[in-house]
Amino acid sequence: MSPAQRLVRNTTGTCRKGGAFLCLGRGLLVWGGVLLAAGCASTTLNRPRDFGAVVGREPASIALGEIRDNVACDDEAFYLQRYLEGQRVFYDCVLADRSDVRAYHGADLIVSGKIAPAIQTRRLGWGVFASWITLGGYYLLGGPTREQEVRIAYDFEVEYADSGQSRNYRFEDVRQATFGLYGPGINLDQKPGVYIPGWERLLYEICKETKVQRAGRAP
């Protein structure tokens, strides 16, 4: 499996990263050793090792244009900027002027794009049945009765100042969680955490492309 394929994949699990402790606590209380043994499937995505490639080969700065999702009240570029600053791949990451994304900064890369999240929750028939059969005991003990699926489609446009070319990157992140009385262990519907796998993939693609473009003009 290539790193790019590894970055975004279907994931099924009940706990992840920061939520792991909470999930473990619930598991210990409700399921005892059962969840401890089987439930905590980590879904942390693998980061490619050459993320520092852009800075390593040649310093680069990045500007973020319009990045929107289907909730109009916030600007995803602010979350992406915070993520990129934390990764230390680019020496500077600025938010471009919305009226003219190319003005004032002279950045090596300009990113703009669209994110379309779709969240679906459905009841698990067998879980509801088990609840009725056990007079609610199954539900109270935390047995799964619902399933949530988050499907996020990313569509990014990246302009490379080195080559003057634009590249389009489209990919999809799908993740599922099953839960009952206590709610999903993963915050599937909360920003900005839910978009991080998509940004990891975007960063990977940018690094790969920039590395290829700059390979011919190594110092």
Binding site: G52, V55, G56, R57, E58, P59, S61, A63, N70, V71, A72, C73, D74, D75, A77, F78, Y79, Q81, R82, R88, Y91, D92, V94, L95, A96, D97, R98, S99, A103, Y104, H105, P117, S131, G136, Y139, L140, L181, D189, Q190, K191, P192, V194, P219
Partner: protein, 441 residues
């Protein structure tokens, strides 16, 4: 009353009551912490907090309207209550505004522009109704001011002048007698509505307790209770409606006063001020005002004429600016480290002099100010002033220079290396701007 009861009263009940009262009194808006941090100049923390406040997916409905309760900044807001509705509607515009002012103070002008643009857009979305027109007016005023300053230091004087004109317009409205009168009445409404909040909190606590009891009783009831939020009584709805009516009545009064005193149509003005893409182009007078309102002009006016740059110093600067393009060269080795070779000491020294130049402009003459503005206050000067090095950056480069040597190695993977790269980039940009500015004098 025996000793045991008194003991229980002293140890348990009174401290409990004190804790309860103090918890009630510390109910502050979500942005209050950011205000406190702003006074302490803790800018990165403010950015963190403000970005977190934006993460409210699922709490607003898809049309951008506030629905039900919203959790942000560690507090729960119920938009059905007038004072909370005001806070909850201001959450997003205020978060963007905080990021804008922090970015401006940090010298990150592009970030400031973006955040202020978003603040204006979200203000149109959440503060668009008549009831919130005063909050929106204040928000527009502050954000246009930030846009003015940010565009100015990006060297785009046209856009700076456009936003400065909007700022002056909003300022005029906000400082009118009618506005002050309305705001005094508004404060009264706000204080009245505070009772609703405490009422709301008590009711919510009761509702939560009931929910827990019901959840323990039956599974079905638990599921129902977990989905059911706080109740909203008809009496409270009537009170809220009354407050809304008062707010709108005040607005009407304000509109009338504006029409009589200034012959202004408030609705049209607000619409125009929020439409960033259709603001009318600046006139020569707007440009003149924008320059004259800038910090650099004001500083030149009030500073001691003795400390201003004289002709000999200008000649000296011209000589320095003549051959600055090749002061340092950058190369990168196989391990990805950046090698800086050349005369870094001279570049740092020049950078310091360039930073000083905009602050030591000759005083403007009493007559013929336009010629002065055209000569000195050019876009290049503002760009130069906008690229001032921070104290941390200067200390870093001074340390590097003191170490001596012809070549310096920077590892970009380290945080300090990133600061060095940013600083170098800034110094080189500044030198280019300086060359063109000094040559035109």
């Amino acid at each position: 009353m025996n000793r045991a009861v008194r003991h229980i009263l002293r140890v348990l009940i009174l401290p409990g009551l004190a804790l309860g009262f103090s918890a009630g009194c510390t109910s502050l808006p979500a942005s209050a912490r950011r205000d406190a941090l702003y006074n302490q100049q803790q800018y990165p923390e403010i950015r963190e907090l403000a970005v977190d406040d934006l993460a409210i997916l699922g709490q607003y409905d898809r049309a951008g309207c506030v629905a039900g309760t919203v959790t942000a900044g560690g507090q729960v807001f119920d938009s059905q209550y007038y004072d909370m509705a005001e806070e909850v509607r201001s959450l997003t515009p205020q978060a963007y505004f905080d990021m804008a002012r922090v970015s401006l103070d940090m010298g990150r002008y592009l970030d400031a522009i973006r955040a202020a643009q978003n603040a204006i857009e979200s203000g149109a979305m959440f503060l668009g109704d008549d009831e919130w027109v005063f909050q929106r007016m204040m928000s527009l005023r502050e954000n246009h001011n930030i846009l003015y300053k940010a565009y100015l230091y990006c060297g785009d004087l046209d856009k700076a002048a456009v936003h400065h004109r909007q700022y002056l317009l909003m300022n005029e409205l906000v400082n009118s007698q009618a506005f002050k009168k309305v705001m005094a009445n508004s404060l009264r409404i706000r204080m009245t509505s505070m009772r609703l909040r405490s009422d709301y909190q008590a009711r919510r606590a009761g509702a939560n307790r009931n929910q827990v009891l019901i959840a323990a009783a039956t599974v079905a009831a638990a599921a129902a209770a977990s989905q059911n939020n706080s109740s909203f009584k008809p009496a409270q709805a009537a009170q809220l409606a009354q407050i809304g009516v008062m707010a709108v009545a005040l607005l009407e009064e304000y509109k009338q006063a504006l029409k009589l005193e200034h012959n202004l149509d408030l609705a049209k003005l607000m619409r125009e001020a929020a439409d960033l893409n259709r603001l009318p182009p600046p006139t020569a007078e707007d440009l003149r005002r924008a320059k004259m309102a800038s910090d650099l002009y004001l500083l030149a006016r009030v500073s001691d004429p003795g400390s201003a740059l004289d002709q000999a110093e200008f000649d000296d600067l011209k000589r320095l600016g003549a051959g600055t393009s090749d002061l340092v060269t950058l190369s990168i080795d196989d391990k990805g480290r950046v090698h800086v070779s050349g005369n870094l000491a001279k570049l740092v020294e020049l950078s310091r002099k360039i930073d000083e130049a905009p602050l030591r402009l000759p005083p403007p003459p009493e007559e013929g100010v336009d010629a002065y503005l055209d000569t000195y206050l050019t876009p290049g000067l503002y760009r130069m002033a906008g690229l001032q090095m921070s104290t941390g950056e200067m200390q870093f480069f001074d340390r590097l220079v003191r170490r001596g040597g012809e070549e310096f190695v920077i590892d970009p993977a380290q945080a300090e290396g990133q600061m060095a790269l940013q600083g170098l980039h800034k110094m080189m940009q500044k030198t280019t701007e300086f060359e063109s500015w000094i040559a035109s004098l």
